[in-house]
């Protein structure tokens, strides 16, 4: 993976000093909370219900064993011995003291990590495919482009005070593991008819209270023009995005109100101008970054044989291990969704173990997924059994990837000052209701996504089953939706009817699942059955 050079390190170190100065001014009373707020928000520090939350960037979801172990150290030293991995491949600490924040950032900088632009109305952490560099069908590794954009977007002076936050994803497969069409800008590497690789550019996707699947704004962008084109996209947004209403300020609203054709026309006009400015990185810089993502030294001639005689291991193998492009290697998915657990949480000890396993077995590299799990991307098949044993001993081997127990949930009212309802206890109740792993496997791929408010951090709009917590006359109430997808067949979930209490929604999910098992055709997922038969049978079973 990419390692900082002296320039990257100097910029991150400078940011630590800048934030230390800002924090000192706040603690000394030179800055009011109102004045400090935009400064701390630009550095991922939120004031939540009970304490400060610090969000740390994990660029494109890739980190080293040493970096993971540093996160464990911070959790142990400054937090309550755990951290929370988010749908944007970041890590959040929920119990941070303001006075500790500069020291935490200084420690992160020693392992080439930071919290720059993990909040605020600016370009956020760039997300990417957790199988990058390991998937057989990718055009090329998307991460060099994500790293180029990380650098370009870091303190980009023109785009630090956008109308609203701005999220970019870069992928290189047809199969989409990042919800690319739900980003403000989604970049998908593909080949044109001449066989050249370039970007398909989606602009204006998003969740929130107005969910949108992004339209294609450009079908093919030559790679060497990426920065000039994005400058044009962002400048049109910065100038003309709405600033009169917080809820209409995302770029999806601008694209929607202008229409994709008019937005495209304005971007192309600005792009003609930005191309004259020489904003793009030279090829030698792109080559330098790409060298940081050169394939690790895979061994040739390894066996693909795996001893499946342990039945529990075999179950885990079938659910959690994916095909790798190199013979003899595999991709391991580590579940952060144990039945009684909190989706996306990991303890310090678990983080340390994952870091050690990466160093020992996966070329010192881990990935965080948008579904809040962790991946070891390059593992020898002959090591799988030992890895499984180590994970199992640490409670990290639940074989539920993509199943009903693999729930995405936001922190909800247990932590978040924006939330209207709790997400975590509901996720736990649903996971417990379907706690039997044989039943989960029988149900197949079924993605439940839970948000505790309309901001949709739990991606409920993109859930096969989506649940939104709302406040109804002081009571927590849950709206149930069906038919969403955050994958390559992206779609928005549709509300089925009136909301439920916490127990009521668990019961309603149970009834919906029964409709599926009764009416499914061979090979159909829940989503496929819903799309084929429509909402009526589900509505009947739930409300009838």
């Amino acid at each position: 993976m990419y390692r900082y050079d002296e320039y990257d390190q100097a910029i991150v170190d400078a940011r630590v000093e800048e934030f230390r100065d800002q924090t000192r001014r706040r603690l000394a009373g030179e800055l009011s909370e109102d004045q400090f707020k935009p400064l701390r928000l630009m550095n991922g520090l939120y004031l939540q219900l009970h304490a400060y939350m610090l969000r740390i960037a994990i660029p494109y979801g890739t980190l080293s064993g040493e970096q993971m172990r540093m996160l464990a150290h911070i959790a142990r030293t400054y937090d309550k011995d755990y951290g929370h991995f988010t749908t944007r491949q970041n890590l959040q600490f929920n119990w941070i003291k303001l006075s500790d924040a500069p020291d935490i950032l200084a420690k992160l900088a020693t392992v080439q990590m930071h919290a720059i632009q993990t909040s605020g109305n600016c370009i956020r952490n760039i997300s990417s495919d957790q199988y990058a560099g390991a998937a057989a069908d990718e055009v090329e590794d998307p991460r060099p482009w994500a790293e180029l954009l990380r650098q370009w977007s870091t303190f980009h002076p023109e785009f630090l005070f956008l109308p609203r936050k701005f999220k970019i994803a870069v992928v290189a497969c047809e199969e989409d593991r990042t919800a690319v069409k739900f980003h403000d800008i989604g970049l998908q590497l593909h080949r044109n008819e001449a066989g050249e690789a370039g970007f398909r550019v989606f602009v204006g996707g998003g969740m929130g209270r107005t969910p949108m699947v992004a339209p294609v704004i450009r079908e093919f962008l030559p790679k060497a023009q990426l920065i000039g084109y994005l400058e044009a996209c962002l400048r049109v947004y910065n100038r003309f995005g709405r600033r009169d209403n917080l809820y209409k300020a995302r770029i999806k609203i601008l694209v929607h109100e202008l229409g994709a054709d008019e937005y495209r026309r304005q971007v192309e006009e600005e792009f003609l101008h930005t191309q004259t400015l020489g904003l793009d990185a030279p090829q030698e810089e792109i080559d330098r970054i790409a060298a940081g993502f050169a394939p690790p030294p895979f061994e040739a001639g390894l066996s693909d044989e795996i001893d499946r005689s342990d039945p529990d291991f075999a179950l885990w193998l079938d659910q959690q291990v994916a095909a790798h492009k190199v013979p003899g290697y595999a991709i391991v998915n580590i579940s952060l969704k144990p039945v009684e657990g909190i989706p996306g949480d990991a303890s310090s000890a678990q983080m340390e173990l994952m870091g050690e396993l990466a160093q020992q077995y996966s070329f010192d590299e881990l990935r965080i997924t948008h579904a809040q799990n962790v991946v070891l991307a390059h593992v020898r098949k002959s090591d799988l059994f030992r890895i499984w044993q180590a994970l199992d001993a640490a409670g990290l081997a639940t074989p539920n990837l993509g199943l009903i127990g693999d729930i995405i949930a936001c922190p909800g009212l247990d932590y978040c000052s924006l939330a209207n309802a709790r997400s975590i206890p509901l996720a736990q109740k649903i996971a417990k209701r379907f706690g039997d792993l044989d039943e989960q496997r029988d149900l197949g791929e079924l993605k439940i996504k839970i948000s505790g408010c309309i901001n949709a951090c739990g991606h409920h709009h993109a859930g096969h089953i989506g649940i939104l917590g709302v406040d109804r006359k002081g009571e927590e109430n849950y709206q149930l939706s069906f038919g969403g997808s955050g994958a390559e067949d992206a779609s928005l979930a549709k509300i089925i009817g009136p909301g439920f209490s916490e127990d009521g929604v668990v019961e309603a999910v149970g009834r919906a699942v029964s409709v599926y098992t009764e009416l499914r055709e061979p090979g159909e997922r829940f989503l496929d059955t819903y799309r084929r038969i429509g909402e009526a049978p589900f509505k009947e079973a739930i409300y009838g």
């Binding site: 050079d5 320039y7 990257d8 100097a10 910029i11 400078a14 000093e17 800048e18 100065d21 800002q22 001014r25 030179e30 004045q35 935009p38 400064l39 109305n121 650098q151 370009w152 870091t154 303190f155 980009h156 002076p157 023109e158 785009f159 630090l160 005070f161 956008l162 109308p163 400048r235 910065n238 100038r239 600033r243 101008h273 400015l277 020489g278 904003l279 990185a281 030279p282 030698e284 810089e285 330098r288």
Partner: protein, 141 residues
């Protein structure tokens, strides 16, 4: 009145800045003030004659002026480019990177803090109108 910080050696422009609409009507003015909704490209035919363009920042979180400044410098404007309004000392670095060489802040700017912040970042990642070499130029020197 506010606190004026200038990063250029010439005398501050004394003539009051007029609105864009007034400027376009009475073209002998040499100072103009742009609001966030004004199109800076309306000034492109007149840049050579202008000594001061003041760009309004009604709220610190309204970042439209950053694009306004960049557009004017990209078009070759060399006169004073002044950011005026609700401006935090911590915004002065990015403002300068977008071509602003004067700041008229509604509140007093702490010169000690400004001086510390100004010398903090020796390297930058982007090519902008301030002419600083981005890291990739220095790396591949």
């Amino acid at each position: 009145m506010g606190d004026l910080v200038r990063f250029r050696d010439d005398e501050a422009h004394e003539e009051p800045a007029v609105t864009l609409d007034s400027f376009l009507e009475q073209t002998n003015a040499t100072a103009v003030r742009l609001e966030p909704t004004d199109d800076p490209r309306a000034l492109l035919p007149f840049l050579g004659r202008l000594s001061l363009i003041e760009v309004s920042f009604p709220k610190f979180r309204d970042g439209r002026g950053f694009s306004t400044g960049s557009i004017l410098r990209e078009a070759g404007y060399t006169g004073e480019l002044r950011a005026a309004g609700d401006i935090l000392v911590d915004q002065i670095n990015p403002l300068r990177r977008c071509g602003f060489d004067a700041i008229l802040s509604d509140v007093e700017i702490d010169r000690a803090v400004l001086s510390r912040l100004s010398s903090l970042y020796g390297d930058v990642y982007q090519k902008t109108v301030d002419g600083r070499a981005p890291a990739w130029t220095r790396r591949n020197g």
